[in-house]
């Protein structure tokens, strides 16, 4: 298992170095944004759902 991990890491490092890709460093930088993005979009849509529900309730009372 350790051998496979070492080989995989070597392959990734070789590809990253030879192509000039940001590689795993780039992924690690983007990872928090993925989390913030998913939480953020649900938070905003949650507030919109709440607001529309309140508007609908207010509208139906009239």
């Amino acid at each position: 298992m350790n051998f496979l991990t070492t080989v995989a890491t070597d392959v990734v490092n070789t590809v990253t170095e030879s192509t000039g890709f940001p590689g795993l460093d780039g992924v690690m930088k983007a990872l928090p944004y993925m989390g913030y993005g998913m939480v953020g979009i649900f938070f905003v849509t949650g507030v919109i759902i709440l607001t529309v529900s309140l508007l609908n309730k207010a509208g139906s009372k009239k």
């Binding site: 944004y33 993925m34 913030y36 849509t45 508007l55 009239k62």
Partner: protein
Amino acid sequence: MQLIEALFKPIIEQMEADPTLILKQMAMWIIGGILIYLAIKKDMEPTLLLPMGFGAILVNLPGIAEVGGETVAQNGAFHTLERLFSIGIDNGELMPLILFIGIGAMIDFGPLLRNPKYMIFGAAAQFGIFFTLCLSAYFFDLNDAASIAIIGAADGPTAIFVAQTLNSKYIAPIMVAAYSYMALVPLIQPVVIKACTTKKERLIRMEDNGKPVSKTTRILFPIIVTILVGFVAPDAVSLIGFLMFGNLIRECGVLDSLSETAQKVLANLVTIFLGITIAFQMRASEFLQWETLLIMGLGLFAFVFDTFGGVMIAKLMNLFLKKKINPMIGAAGISAFPMAGRVVNKMGLAEDDQNFLLMHAIGVNVSGQVASVIAGGLILSFMAG
């Protein structure tokens, strides 16, 4: 001999500066031809693919050379498109924003206002954007990765706006990928939807439990959404603001003539210029790179995972709901209005000819339109931070 030299002067000068450029330009004529073919013969987003295809040919005519890293052109059309690009897209992303007024005027948020919980599917169907951001960051720097990820929004103006604001050098491939995949929604989505749903789930019928929406709600909705998004994602406020302004014109009831103009004349005018102006970025030297293929692949990944996200959240909700939701409607959350909604309705009817999902799917679809703009705004806020 002199006549021949005079006639072919642009080609001769270009060949002297860069002998291989003409081959690359010819490859771009073929790509332009393919886009025109797809637009006319396959009816794939013809309003954009046709101008982009023609523009790709126009900016790749001989007489353009790269001298000292700068593009020197004798091609008059090249200069005109350069100016259009500078005014309409480069400076303040004017064209996508104006187009959003037209789109806002076209959208009826009624089905969403009747069932506000549909916004959840719109949000979940943006997951592909954030997965792709991570994947793209392996290959590209963060700003380009974010611009590529937004292809998953299935929303052309948002993709242009984000890519241009983040100063991405891959705006042309991003646009081609975004609009091509939007056109391919009827081919891509059914495969993904079928792969992650069972026949039993696809047969779930949904009642139209919608209550009428008051005019006050319809008028207040665009104003409130603009304020909310303005607080959370100020970088997206111009996008959401123009979209909601268009919608307010539609819903206010006193600007029918403006609403009609925004929906038809304004949207058509901007669309004509948008496609051909984006083609300015389809110069052989910029477009023919291996990165273009990678961007197309990553765009497809974003589309597939957006669809997957929407369907899976519906399946998750079904675990807790008494009245089950047909999980296919979750897939309509990928924006691509109104095509994604129609695809879901068609799939529902194919399984059961009495299963009409259109109103539900369109409700989810318009929520996807709003959610994609919010996702774009969040990405801009992150990158600015």
